[in-house]
């Protein structure tokens, strides 16, 4: 009887009329923009696309996520609680990195950030629990700096983009149907330009897929962006040519550890990033701390699974922690977990903007662990690129894909 009711509901106006079977669980047949990846970058691009569209309802946006969970205010919903801790970030630098840190702080202050430089004596006065051996200079954020709950931001953004009319579906992008055409450059070379016409979205745990016709595709698939780019034919060509340049983003595993230390640093602890690359911050009120460490190239853990290597903490993280904060000698690890970074093997900086040959694929990925903090800005940049064809607010042309072919690394002068 319920099958019959569903069929009748299909016929009523406003529902998808499919003669053969009920397709309400499948994504729509057409969409103007398809965003592959529903993480913070994908949702941010969706948000800005809907905010900057010229007319209400002008752009149809579909976000496909494989694994799914003032500006963000939605009518009738409670406000997003980001659990923002404004305690600031403390970056420590040794003698050889002190000049870089000073330059960085100067540049940040020029852009309006409220950071200041502290000497080791001032550091010892402010935070008595720290051991300033080896520290030549430190930078401390006084205002608007700290950490927040990324999951709440993600959920708040999901809710907001859903209220703006973006469709969110769970599925896997398995294929792109493209069409190509030959063009000639001013110097007479033949170039093959490709357009993506359809995206095949495969439903979870079934063989069913829906071909979605689209005008633009945004690759915000995080650690799996490299695989999605290969599906579109990026990187299939002779190495050394533009056709043969792959998207150098691959998944890298990183661990985060939560430990308890009864006599540890107090309520005012900022996020401390040590010279050695170890970082930690306070978590909650019960003397718990959260931290981690980025391994060097040789020590990279295997990214095929999310298993945690507990010896990594014992051997690599704990010695540095105990050296910097003596009370951490008596810490006890409560939990550890692992996650993936969308690691850009070329220069660890993100890729933003269209691909030169596959003309309607835009990238918003590869930020190697810094994607969250840049997400609103990148979302706006990609939305402007899709809607206006150029970057309006901030010029992100150093982040384009072509730098991989030209070999120009975009080095970030950070010490971590």
């Amino acid at each position: 009887m319920s099958e019959f009711k569903k069929k009748i509901e299909c016929i009523l106006p406003g529902k998808q009329w499919e003669e053969l079977y009920d397709t309400s669980h499948l994504p729509p047949k057409q969409s103007d923009v398809v965003i592959v990846g529903g993480g913070i970058l994908g949702l941010s691009v969706a948000f800005w696309l809907k905010k900057l569209e010229s007319r209400r309802g002008a752009i149809r946006v579909l976000v496909v996520e494989q694994d799914h969970t003032e500006h963000l205010a939605v009518v009738d919903a409670p406000l997003v609680d980001l659990r923002y801790n404004p305690s600031g970030c403390l970056l420590l630098a040794s003698e050889k990195d002190a000049a870089t840190l000073e330059n960085n702080v100067k540049m940040q202050r020029q852009e309006g950030a409220k950071v200041c430089l502290i000497s080791p004596e001032q550091l010892q006065n402010k935070f008595p629990w720290i051991n300033t051996e080896g520290v030549a200079l430190a930078s401390y954020g006084m205002e608007d700096e700290g950490w927040f709950d990324a999951w709440s931001l993600l959920q708040g953004l999901r809710r907001k983009v859903q209220s703006m009319g973006v469709l969110l579906y769970q599925g896997e992008v398995t294929r792109f149907i493209t069409s190509s055409g030959q063009m000639q450059t001013p110097s007479g070379e033949q170039v093959v330009l490709r357009r993506i016409n359809e995206v095949h979205v495969k439903m979870d745990k079934s063989l069913e897929y829906q071909p979605v016709e689209c005008a633009a595709v945004i690759n915000a698939a995080g650690p799996w962006s490299g695989q999605v780019a290969e599906l579109a034919g990026i990187g299939k060509g002779l190495p050394g040519t533009l056709q043969g340049t792959k998207l150098p983003v691959e998944p890298r595993k990183r661990y985060v550890h939560l430990w308890h230390c009864p006599q540890g640093p107090g309520l005012e602890t900022p996020l401390v990033a040590d010279i050695s690359g170890v970082y930690f911050r306070r978590e909650g009120l019960g003397s718990n701390y959260l931290g981690g460490y980025s391994p060097t190239e040789e020590e990279e853990p295997d990214p095929t699974n999310l298993e945690v290597d507990h010896d990594f903490f014992q051997n690599k993280v704990w010695p540095h922690l105990a050296q910097r904060v003596p009370s951490f000698k008596t810490l006890k690890v409560q939990r550890s977990w692992a996650g993936y970074y969308d690691y850009n093997t070329f220069d660890q900086n993100g890729v933003v903007g269209p691909h030169p040959l596959v003309v309607n694929m835009y990238f918003a990925t590869g930020f190697s662990g810094h994607g969250l903090q840049h997400a609103p800005g990148i979302g706006r940049a990609v939305a402007e690129m899709v809607l206006d064809g150029q970057f309006n607010t901030i010029d992100m042309s150093p982040f384009l894909f072509t730098r991989f072919y030209l070999g120009e690394k975009l080095q970030a002068y950070n010490i971590l």
């Binding site: 009518v75 009738d76 659990r83 801790n85 404004p86 205002e143 700290g146 309520l267 005012e268 306070r282």
Partner: protein
């Protein structure tokens, strides 16, 4: 604000509960919000896109109105100086201000205040009572140039949150008394950045509904600010008396 001050002193939660219907678009989740009656507009907006767009427009207008109240008085600051600008901002919001060696200036029930303080260009402001005002993060920038401010009361301000507290470090040299009692959006994360205020002697952090563990937070704040007297929660709050711990004036049933 035009509303009477007594009305505002009721506290932010009751204020939100009273301003229902068309005016409260995105409220904090309170226990009775799920059981409240839906208004006609809310019912209609589930069925008509136009009504939904209208409600979104009204929500945006409400946010813009709040922003306008907290705009930066930079042009007045150029002409009259930082002290007069700060005082004007607070008085327009409905708070009270006290210049050094002068009396408290408060707006009356109609929102009017005496304007003789416009002459006090060089006289520093030493106390500000912004209880119940709609001051927010943007509006704080009008208060921060008051470098000799000693007393600041932000009791029951509905828009003061952790972000605002992170800006208070600019008043660290002079601020001696701070009151945050009853602010619904201040949590322990914002209290953590009060460690810059080393000259603080009295801090009132009672009745903060967003703080998850008031007793523990008070202990940690006291450790963080050793020279400051912290007024927090009443220690016996939440303790229920057991039957055998009844007050002593009940006669014992069995005499030894």
């Amino acid at each position: 604000m035009a509303a009477p001050r007594a009305f505002l002193r009721l506290g932010a939660r009751e204020w939100n509960a009273r301003a229902r219907g068309i005016h409260s678009m995105s409220e904090p989740v309170t226990p009775d919000s799920s059981r409240k009656k839906r208004t006609l507009l809310q019912f209609l907006s589930d069925y008509f896109h136009d009504i939904h767009a209208l409600r979104e427009y009204l929500l945006r207008k409400q946010i813009l109105k709040g922003n306008r109240k907290n705009r930066s008085f930079a042009d007045i600051q150029e002409k009259y100086g930082p002290y007069v600008t700060g005082a004007l901002f607070i008085l327009k919001q409905g708070g009270a201000v006290k210049f050094q060696d002068k009396e408290w200036i408060r707006p009356n029930e109609r929102g009017h205040f005496p304007t003789e303080f416009l002459e006090f260009r060089k006289v520093p402001v030493e106390a500000v009572d912004a209880s119940g005002c709609a001051i927010n993060y943007q509006g704080m920038s009008n208060l921060l140039p008051l470098k000799e401010l000693r007393f600041l009361s932000l009791q029951c301000c509905p828009n003061v949150d952790d972000w605002c507290l992170s800006r208070l470090y600019l008043l660290a040299d002079s601020l001696q008394e701070l009151s945050l009692a009853g602010c619904p959006q201040v949590s322990e994360r914002g209290l953590a950045c009060l460690h810059h205020l080393q000259n603080l002697r009295r801090l009132d952090i009672s009745d903060l509904p967003a703080v998850s563990h008031p007793g523990l937070t008070q202990i940690l704040v006291e450790e963080m600010l050793p020279h400051c007297e912290v007024l927090g929660t009443d220690w016996a709050q939440g303790l229920k008396l057991e039957p055998d711990q009844q007050p002593q004036n009940t006669p014992s049933p069995v005499s030894p």
